[in-house]
Amino acid sequence: MFNNRRGSAVGEQIMSIWFVLLLIILVAGFSVGIIMYFGQSYDFRGAEAGILNYKIRQCLFFNNIDFSNSNEFFSVCQLNKIVLEDNFNETKIAIRICDGDCSNGKVVYQLGSDFSSCDFIGKNTKYMQCNHKSVNNGKKVFDVIVGSNHQARKV
């Protein structure tokens, strides 16, 4: 009888250890989940690429741009050269404009180089988010690819 009582007390102690361990594992799991969910920044890259692509296509539709002078492209299309070209390493917004299809046409303007990651959208969230569309201005067909990996700067 006495032995049995001791056995049950030890059993209860072991059970409470497992219960506390279970709570610790749950707390750790929830914490990691919350940090992973809320720690992620608001993803604006896809929308930003879409807006810039639309602006460039609208500009190419209404204007004849001499791409040999990149200043003309930026001033006619009302795009900020300092933000996009000079601060490229910070903004990480890539632009490729082709005369014809970009897969075999001539590249008339390019900012940034890593467009291969555009083919992997959805595979890895760290890759830039791209927007690929074309425009016909009556004389030429331009293919426009814009990719963004622009992140906010926390100071």
Partner: protein, 138 residues
């Protein structure tokens, strides 16, 4: 007598378990609310949404943005300069959102426009930011 002892020990075990579960639940809720009202998350959101509005704007547009949630988050972070929650850095072409005493979030806009007439209206009925988008080379 023995029965009473066993019962009180069982009661103690149950109380300890209930306290542990309560502490666990409170910890999870506290963590959730801390992250949900986190200034960093809302600074990031406001900076990017204002950038979206500017990037899509045309010269002559006037943009009005509701800063109600931003004001609540700033207040909970002891930053009560409501007329300075959002400002525009003309040099770097960045939107600067500050909802906490130490630190801020910056995000640049690519539309080549000038931001002018930046005004914050408090309590109309909520806090509102208003600014005008102008052509840069005028």
């Amino acid at each position: 007598m023995k029965n009473k002892k066993a019962m009180s020990s069982q009661l103690m075990d149950t109380i300890v378990m209930v306290i542990l579960v309560l502490v666990f639940t409170l910890f999870i809720f506290a963590m959730l609310s801390h992250y949900k009202n986190g200034a960093g998350v809302w600074e990031d959101f406001y900076a990017k949404e204002i950038a979206r509005a500017i990037d899509m704007a045309k010269p002559g547009d006037t943009i009005t943005i509701d800063l109600d949630k931003a004001s609540i988050v700033a207040k909970s972070n002891d930053y009560e300069l409501y007329d300075k929650l959002v400002r525009f850095d003309e040099k770097t072409r960045e939107i600067v959102v500050k909802l906490r005493t130490n630190g801020e979030t910056r995000f640049s806009y690519f539309n080549d426009v000038k931001i002018s007439n930046v005004k914050t209206f408090l309590g109309v009925p909520t806090n509102v930011l208003q600014f005008k988008v102008e052509a840069r080379n005028v």
